[in-house]
Amino acid sequence: MSAVEILQAFAPELVLFLGALVLLALDMAWRRLGEGKEATILSLAVAFVILSLLLLLGFGKASALPIWGMLASDQFAFFFKGLALIGTGLVLLSSYRYLEGHTPYRGEFYAFLLLVTLAIMLVVGAVNLLMLYLAFEFLSLTSYILVGYLREEGKSSEAAIKYFLYGVTASAMMLYGISLLYGVTGTLDLVKIGPALASSGAGSWLAFPAIVLLLAGFGFKIALVPFHQWSPDTYEGAPTPVTAFLSVGPKAAGFAVLARVFITALSRFQPEWVSVLAGISMVTMTLGNLVALRQENIKRMLAYSSIAHAGYILIGLVCLVSGVTSNFTGLNGVLIYLLAYLFTNLGAFAVVIAVERATGSNRIADYAGLVKREPLLAGAMIVFLLSLIGIPGTGGFVGKFFVFGAAIQVQFYVLALVGVINSVISAFYYLNVVRHMFFLRGEEKPIAVELTLKWVIVASLIAVFVIGLYPHPFISLGTKAVQILGVAF
């Protein structure tokens, strides 16, 4: 690969990095931001994200060859990079003026959001275990900082500490898993690990511990049971835009890595990891949904709901199909689900942010009578919640349709059954929010919604409907993106 090619393939990441540096420098120059300055920083940050997205669309698929054997810019990475950038754009807009009154240090917040996105883009492209580990740590460190950003507030610090303690443990376990694989095969290159494992006699009995250890690291980011314990406290304590980001960005990155590593490097042990993942999937969705039933804080509820959704998404990976002429390859379901979930969840969190800024509360009880206070918020929220349940017409349905479809196709009926029963259970707590918003009476004072938040809500709303009603382009996108991993056709 020539230097120009490398530069092109790496351009989206470079732009983000540059953007983060520019924002940090500006922030230092303008200590204690005024309102006008925060708007400038935000616009700049969004501009960098859009520029990065444009470069990604232009050059993102420039070469299939990994850069220095470390970073791939293939279709699969392209999909997840796009996902991360769109998600970051929406989160940036939701964050505008959120930190006012919480902390005077607001400029770096945007810079860190760009950095954490950069980390995700590196993680999803990594095809070498060393690169993967470093990118993963980069992602974790920037996430810890963002979670604990509200230094003055105890909950935020508690959230960061918990996230950090669980995170380092999970990282250590993952590193141990990597070292096992390296010890057996003598290579860190994902593509070479597969054949090396096949030829090494010791491979088979070491593979299982390696799978479990790697899973600890990936599962932590995704919040799979039993690596999920950090998430409710972290989701509750973190600044809400960060919670929104955590629920989609690192989760998607975790799935990308899980799929890439397991399919590329450990495909020979597919029966082993499929059985482990199938069990984890069922436990994850059931536990997430059952505990969510009892939550009174909407951020905690969405935290458990996001655990449950991780369980549904995992079905797609469990029910992986290769070599069949079908559009239900399991893995494409994972991608479509994540895409729909991105807009649904970011939209829901935008509503949560709007309500939190008006009422100062995240209690579900304080959503009473929301439809009278601001119909847009209540109307949008009901659509997002229905999408989370998986009602047809919304993006959430399309995601569920593809993962459950994959399960039926490979005749994992029990998994599909547990999945749909869980969807019914989840309807109960999602509709509890609807009940408060529409059926109950509460305070009637109108809520003023920040313009940027309105943009996020309306954009997410449109996206949820478009994916739900005209899913064809998104299905094609997801199906194409997974071909690189040798899945389908």
Partner: protein, 503 residues
Amino acid sequence: MGFPILSIITFTPAIGALIILFFPKEKVNLIRRFAIAVSLIPLALSAYLWFAYNQTEGGMQFVERHIWIPAINVWYHVGVDGISVPMVFLTSLLSTLGYFYSAYTIHERVKEYYFLFLLLQTGMYGVFVALDFVLFYVFWEVGLVPMYLLIGVWGGANREYAAIKFFLYTLAGSVFMLLAILGIYFTTGSFDILKAAEVHPFADNFTLASLAFWAFFVAFAIKVPSFPFHTWLPDAHTEAPTAGSVILAGILLKLGCYGLLRIVLPIFPEPFRFYAPIVAALGLISIVYGAFVCMAQWDLKRLIAYSSVAHMGYVVLGIAAAAASLNFNHPAFKESAAIALNGATMQMFNHGIITGGLFFLVGMIYERAHTRDLKVFGGLGAKLPYYYGVVMVTGLASLGLPGLAGFWGEFLVFRGAFHIIPYITAFGVLGVVATAGYILWKVVQFMFLGPFNQEKWGHLTDMEAFEKVTMWPLLLFMVGLGFYPAPLLNIINTATTALMGKL
């Protein structure tokens, strides 16, 4: 490609709903008039549909077929046959009457009310015209949300509980249906309902076929609702606002029956034949149990609600008899099966008209007396003669008096089913007796006869003009179809004989 009449019928209400969003919410009269005006378009078109449907040709007509999701072979495929045409018309009629009646009785959150109602209307049409499983499923679920909100916001005292119960029951049923739909897709490679009826998926694997059969059956039986899946119904119907109850009983229940006719019977004849005794028994229990539970009700609205369980039992019984007829080879059984199906479908239509009317009538007395407790009424016959008359006609139609519409459905179901499953059917006749019992004894006697409490009910007034206008079309159908059921029976017969011919 002709005039897309079905799409226009289906989507006009949804477009109207979107337009209503842009109306200022203070202009309630404008919103009301607009909603009624919008609903007149599908009403006119679905009346036209009935005449324009070519009965000699039969089969699916007014078909529209466009690719929707090419990646997985999902089509926007709609069409109507002799079963769906009356259902589409029923939907139009009851919706328009519901909007009209609500214009005088709903005063809170009018904009949202009509928005949801119009969306619901689109969802109901969609189910009756969809010929693609995904499309069918989308419409099936789309109707769920507005109804949930209608019960929850405008319902009675216990509305929150009733709303969530309604939602969870229906959702629980339909998710299994979704899995069965996916299963059919992976065996036939398409989501086409008509194609599935030709190839009979899982024909070589009885276990899977049974699973798929029960998945569909439970989804539809919950909606019908058939015993033992009926427990959501009394709550939902009792708590819903009047027009909501009318739509629930008049149309939403028919979605379940329609599913049995359109999907379960044609696509899974083999398992249905095998399980027909169980289904017939469920139908029988619904008839008898429903009728006896009605006898024990003191809340008028709850009584009418339970009567729906009983009346829908006839539909289930008729369909089960048709499935059981596949055990026999003689053509006479085919004929009886078609008769039973005719009865079931007529019962669906007539029950919509009659019970829709009864719920309107319950709403009218509740608006005046603010109670539905049968024990506190008495002697209203002299005070409210017009109302008394209308209740009598509707009530007698409900109990199946010959000369009124309700008779034909029950009669044909019994005529058809008795030939095929005589013992079960014979017990079903008990239900007819019990129905006469609760209509005459509970409703008529407790409300209209006996001593009149002047002090308490002296202020009651008889039906107002808008209430009469609401009831007239329904009465017209009850009497008209009672004396001359041929227009309805003929069109239904084209579809049922074709259906039985293919099995």
